[in-house]
């Protein structure tokens, strides 16, 4: 068997254009931050805009309308103006839940569940039990309220596994990592 392995260890050269292809693909992707936030805010950058006279006129008209509306609004009584804001806050509805698919590759698992702040970290919650889809792939699609969440997978009721495809957050209480999830309003 070692003779076979020795043959297989021989180098396998790639085509000459390989590096160039990888670098072209990499260059076409967003570049990581070259400048820090402060540098980005304070470094002068030159921008060129082209604008037609018609567009310029429309913008000027829009600014004029906003200025007139602003002046008219200044006469409205402050107490009256505040009421609609309070009413709007009072009638705020609970955020709707969106259906989110969780996927984990765990070839040796017998059971996989999703736990998070949206189900009280309960690994027995019926809606968050993943099903085996073959080839070691486990998945479940379940409702999660709009907003920021922390979650994790629990394999075989004992091993907590972060989602390799999601950003990680270290839990401030326990120092262990969880996965981060942002559920947005459906457009």
């Amino acid at each position: 068997m070692k003779n076979i392995a020795r043959e297989l260890r021989a180098p396998v050269p790639v085509s000459e254009s390989f590096d160039a292809r990888v670098m072209d693909a990499v260059r076409s992707m967003p570049r990581y931050g070259r400048l820090g936030l402060w540098s980005r805010l304070t470094t002068p950058r030159r921008r060129t805009f082209t604008i037609t006279p018609l567009t310029l006129g429309l913008i000027a008209a829009g600014i004029g309308v906003f200025a007139l509306l602003g002046a008219a609004h200044a006469y409205v009584d402050v107490n009256r103006a505040a009421k609609p804001i309070v009413a709007a806050l009072g009638s705020k509805k609970a955020e709707p839940a969106q259906r989110v698919q969780f996927v984990l590759v765990a070839p040796d698992a017998k059971k996989v569940a999703v736990v998070g702040d949206f189900n009280g970290w309960d690994s027995r919650h019926a809606q968050y039990q993943a099903q085996h889809r073959g080839g070691g792939v486990w998945s479940v699609t379940a409702p999660v309220p709009v907003g920021h969440h922390r979650y994790s997978f629990v394999v075989d009721d004992s091993v907590w596994v972060v989602d390799p495809s999601a950003p990680r957050l270290v839990d401030s209480d326990y120092g262990v990592a969880n996965s981060a999830l942002l559920v947005e309003h459906q457009q």
Binding site: M1, K2, I4, A5, E7, L8, R9, A10, P11, V12, P13, V14, S15, F18, D19, R21, V22, M23, A25, V26, R27, M29, R31, Y32, G33, R34, L35, V105, A106, P107, D108, G135, G136, P167, R168
Partner: protein
């Protein structure tokens, strides 16, 4: 000097916006990982595609590489997954390839003393292993990994990996002895 820089130094440079520094990592891992991809997928074109995909995915997720000093191991894990995906996607083509190989295998046997032919026989035998056995065999014998390292890389238990390697060895012996006894 770039070649002497550690992976962590190069990764830090890329994360600061020096895209061209990524070329050092490509140069550092290209050949070794091309070998694994080639043996896993059975042809150069698919191997290069999987390897290129692994490099670009690594770049895209570079900020999430938890231990930049071990960038190579992290990239290898991505490549192993890309090869699994590519292998599954091209399963049908692979079967056709293997079927066609039977004729080639017989032809190659006309020159058993030729080392190139021997290597080709090994390559063909390799393509006839089950993908998970081929992966385990290559990691153990060609990449020279320990079972614990293989387990971390693949997410498969040590005992299952030992079984896969053993079956791969048995099957390779069987296939190659068929060639020599034919």
């Amino acid at each position: 000097m770039e070649v002497a820089s550690s992976d962590a130094v190069i990764v830090a440079r890329v994360l600061r916006g020096d895209v061209e520094a990524f070329r050092v990592l490509v140069d550092r891992y290209r050949d070794r990982y091309a070998r694994f991809a080639f043996h896993m997928l059975g042809n150069r074109e698919d191997a290069e595609e999987a390897l290129q995909d692994a490099f670009t995915r690594a770049y895209r997720s570079l900020a999430r590489c938890e231990d930049p000093e071990r960038f190579g191991a992290w990239l290898f894990r991505i490549l192993v997954n890309r090869c699994r995906t590519a292998g599954a996607r091209r399963g049908r083509r692979q079967r056709t390839f293997v079927s066609d190989d039977m004729a080639l295998l017989a032809a190659a046997h006309d020159h058993p003393a030729d080392r190139t032919a021997w290597r080709e026989e090994i390559e063909r035998a390799l393509t006839r292993l089950r993908p998970e056995q081929r992966e385990a065999f290559l990691l153990k014998y060609v990449e020279d990994m320990g079972y614990d390292e293989m387990s971390q890389l693949t997410g498969v238990g040590v005992s299952a990996l030992k079984m896969r390697v053993m079956r791969a060895c048995d099957r390779l012996r069987e296939l190659l002895s068929e060639v020599h006894s034919a």
